[in-house]
Amino acid sequence: MSRDHVLHKVRTALSRSVGQSIEEPPPSRLSIPEMDIELRIATFCARIEALAGKTHRAASAEDAGAYVAGVVAGRSAVASNAAVLRDCGITALPGVETGITDPDQLRALCATAACGISGADYALADTGTLVLLSSRQEARLISLLPPVYIAVVERQRLLTGLDELLSVLPRPAEQTSSMVLITGPSRTADIEQILVRGVHGPGEIHVVVV
């Protein structure tokens, strides 16, 4: 059986025996800086803008809803089941489909919708990153198929960076089959190193901090 064969070769190469214990790995290295919420929001937005994403600091839930309404502008949109989207009145906007739990229906909508709208489980200030865990609230394809993507981030979910994320969530696999870090619009520079956005994922992203 290949499993035994490969493991045997590994052990032989390393002069280790079956079930042999190991020393502790080097301690993991996480450094979490001090960053007050205002600085986090400002840094977060600046990073996204630097990547040609658009950001909006909402004064209120209504304001957030109004911004999103402006982006959607009556086009077809599919929104995830995140509570924050309902709270901001986004799920009630014309053209927005939400509350979908059937995989085929979701996929069909995402494939044709102009906009995908989601919340975020976390966000990372130092890189301008959204963190989405696949769940009952959040489907994968919403932030992936439609060419325009809108994320609504509650400010209390904004962490300093990846180190803090892994400190707060050391074992993402216990929560979800898919944790995705999204940093800016989809891009490529494969041909002659010329930058093109929106290759497969959304080329236009909006992040609302509420």
């Binding site: 059937d102 494939a111 050391p170 993402p172 089959s177 870090l181 800016g184 490529t188 290759v199």
Partner: protein
Amino acid sequence: MSAAFDEKIHATLADPKLQLAVYTATGRLIEKRRKAITPDACPDYQELRSHANDVKRHTIEHLDYYLEKFERNVKAHGGQAIYCRDAPEVADFVLSLAKERRARLIVKSKSMTTEEVDLNERLEHHDLESVETDLGEYIIQLAHERPYHIVAPVLHKTREQVADLFTERLGVPRETVIEKQTMIARAVLREKFLAADIGISGANFLVADSGAVVLVENEGNARLTTSAPKIHIAIAGIEKLIPRAQDLAVFLKLLGRSATGQPLTVYTSFLSGPRREDEIDGPEEFYVVLLDNGRTKVLADREKRQSLYCIRCGACLNHCPVYRKIGGHSYPWIYSGPIGAILTPQFLGVTHEPGLPFASSLCGACAEVCPVKIDIPRILLELRSEVKKSEEREGTSRLERLAFRVWAWVMRHPRLYEMAGVVAAAVAPSPDGGGWVRKAPVNVGPLRAWLSQRDLPPSPPKSFRQMWRQR
């Protein structure tokens, strides 16, 4: 070196457009990396490198433990880990699964490991279409070529060449605007993503404590490959393991910065198993293929097993003055540049391309930029010694060996050395005016090779030791 290697190098050097393309593209990547690791951008860059080297050393030295841990966690989350000894076994696994599920269409995201096992070639003729979805890889697939660079597969192609390719292979009207070419590919591949039965990815990292596959990308094709089809197969070398999810804090920081100068790529996916019960989308089946294909051979060599620390960032390629001249296609195997120069002989044997470990001036730029601190020059030197030992066993390179034996003998006998110096000075051409020598009376071997590119120094009237004695 083999004639093939020599010819490929010569052909690349003789192509000024290609030279410029490779030089410019690698130059850009060099600059991007540099900006991302300045003290402001990354104050603890050197510490991160040391730490990454420590973690990789620990993991590789205990690889069996981490493989088993990874396997347990993959299973715990509803997936399966499949060990494959070699390329045919990988293909067999994919084919038999495809057959069982009556799969017709496979979409693939970028994976050097799948190129290593010639997966697409092996799947042909089996009523299975396997489509590359990374833009660069898609173009390469259409062109029936190998990727040119670990991170930038079509570094060597111009927009005109892409336009020709698309027209020829896709039947679309000729389009030379790069943005529009990208949109053509996007439209074609979108259909494939949504219709595919199986998605095959590689893995940038395998996380032992989570049973997770980590994928980094900028386009979104890896996410689509691993989210749209019902089946996801990740194919990865056994050396891709890291112990904990928390180790990603160090490795992701190093990978993005070293490869493209990005603190994080656009998408980083952490995937563990098929969709969970309450999740709305995602694959229903999840397999991780753990590939040996010669890695255990490398593992067995204490000195050289550090070659397995590689996180495939491509920085060594970008900084290598030899790669920047001879380009990715001159190398004999799928892995090019300095990492290719040390992996190829270890995987395929030193006799596969005996010139390869010598195709380096040992400048050390690769080791300087390697995020996991692989001592590439040291490994090259060991491989050179192995090549010479194998040549001795086979009775080849006799003249060179004899020359070095004589040389060593002379160098052990100072008076002989001095005499040899006096004789050489006497027969060496001395141009008038003390200029450098353009032609030699006997134009063979090393002399000829040297003179083909540059002039030779004239012999000085006295050697240093003669001058010293006459002080």
